[in-house]
Subunit: 373 residues, 2 copies
Amino acid sequence: MIYFDNAATGGFKPRAVTDAAENVIRYLSANPGRSGHRLSVTGANIVYNCRSIAAEVFGGTPERVIFTKNCTEALNIAIFGTVNRGGHVITTVYEHNSVLRPLYSLQKQGIINFDTVDDTDKDMISAIEEKIRPETYLIVINAVSNVTGKILPVQEIGALAKKHNLLFIVDGAQAGGHIHINIEKNNITALALAGHKGLYGIMGSGMLILSETANVTPLLYGGTGSESFSLSQPECYPERLESGTLNLPAIAALSEGLRYIKNNMINFSETVYEHTARLLDGIYDISRVKCYSKPNPAGIVSFLIEGMESSEAADILNNEFDIAVRGGLHCAPLIHKKLGTSPDGLVRASLSVQNSAREIDFFIKAIKKICER
Amino acid sequence: MIYFDNAATGGFKPRAVTDAAENVIRYLSANPGRSGHRLSVTGANIVYNCRSIAAEVFGGTPERVIFTKNCTEALNIAIFGTVNRGGHVITTVYEHNSVLRPLYSLQKQGIINFDTVDDTDKDMISAIEEKIRPETYLIVINAVSNVTGKILPVQEIGALAKKHNLLFIVDGAQAGGHIHINIEKNNITALALAGHKGLYGIMGSGMLILSETANVTPLLYGGTGSESFSLSQPECYPERLESGTLNLPAIAALSEGLRYIKNNMINFSETVYEHTARLLDGIYDISRVKCYSKPNPAGIVSFLIEGMESSEAADILNNEFDIAVRGGLHCAPLIHKKLGTSPDGLVRASLSVQNSAREIDFFIKAIKKICER
């Protein structure tokens, strides 16, 4: 199979990643840090180690690296945990439902209202700044669109947030492992990440990286192994936001994934960029094909074949060519509305550095064959 | 090492469980059910399969088996998701902080108030019934105390809840795999379970089993792969309560764990009961030892050595005898207050069916040696 669905879950895992997960599953089945015995202490060290590497990669301190089950949980903690008395939020049309649905639920409850800006008529920075009002307290954006692969200007939006004293939450689901993001340099209050995409971890892992100034109300309350006498959730991080047993196999794997990208990301990003350029080059001139992506380091190429539903095209690619892509709306409805591709959506091929030029060329041929019918 | 910390995380995993997790990690790294391609469809089948087995074991329908990252998340979804306009809640002194802290946070916000009942002076049923008021809407109990191993009368409390038309949430963290619980037979609205304890799954897995009548507001909002055009969370289960990428390795493992206990639980429970009886028998007469458990099928034996902090005893067992137990409060502060063992806590040995009589006898000798110093 040619696996071009890496934006959903990365298809390739380094041997160190799978070994780390398996080692925990087979030999270290014990709650990390909850007891004082050898296995529990070893587990706690693995967890701390992962926090440290994450802080090296994304900035901040190990104590403010919060482990979650996926990027969605991280975003929900960040959005609901900073809402306080509510107010006005600015977000973009590029967002995933993991941002839009939490915001919409808060709006329906009358706690916030939010604007979704786009950058059709003006640049994103101006579009956002124009919407800032006295009651605005938060900007939330995804760093890379999961539909088009477009990179949003995180650095500049962070500076804008700082200038206006706003919180700044970044959805790094498609950015982690592909582009550099640093919570300090980019003035990010909370950065949400998926472990199982560009960071080479396994499913069941996500992170929320908090700035020193972030003050986040928990979404989950429960046992933390600390201050157990108290019915209040501990104030200190990470315990404040991490209740219940952690997913040790996934955290051990994520450590290795982070190590893998730490020194390789620049090279990887260049290769992935070239992959998307090659793919776009190959399909751009095919009549019936309409592309919605530009070359990008996140590996995302979305397009449609005129006269064919995106799900049909994806099915043909799977059934006849054994190529895995994803059709539909990719859980990001507003960008499809903007692109005029709603409700049918687009075919998304999402590539990783491990995909080969040969796979891309085979894919291009497949698209040609489908279009020539 | 002798591993007697199975109530935190089960130490033994059947080969089928570890193989299932590893198979997904190595060969099935793709989002279950999000795309239409082969890997995604295979993943979706694994997930549905696990829902089906869980419903066979605990009652209900596959669609109302909600996968969570741990039992704590399941309890938080159940408690926060059914609070509606608030009111009065009845719980017990046996509860874990995964129940007490959510309730306490709701009480601090003025949304609910709650009573914690105990069964010192009267039986639990009468103690609960006495506290029911017109504004009471919920009873929440753990089925088995994680501190003493005491089994609460789930069946009778369920009948009481039904009689008074109350919601009934059960924390099955220590019960799953050890005693029979069925949401229909026991009139349970929502049953929360840990995957990595008595159900033989791996860390990162939990479940919430909902009754047909349960109506639960989501705690997490996000992508579900369904109704992606809508900014509202889907109404239908399980999507309503499952946002973001599922933990496929853990779910695949849990299927095998559930299969493992499905036909063996009665035998297992008998053996575990005998294990605890043997252990209690062996330490009961040691001077300085005070026991707080009775023989039970959950494998939990708590005790203290007079004149020694529980953490010190646990450390000696680990360092000198290579035995893993857990000291302290076990995240259940109120039961320790009731027992008079707060704030120092107890030594908890938690056994599984895979522990041997020989290990238990070695443990008894170790306790004797420690007490004779």
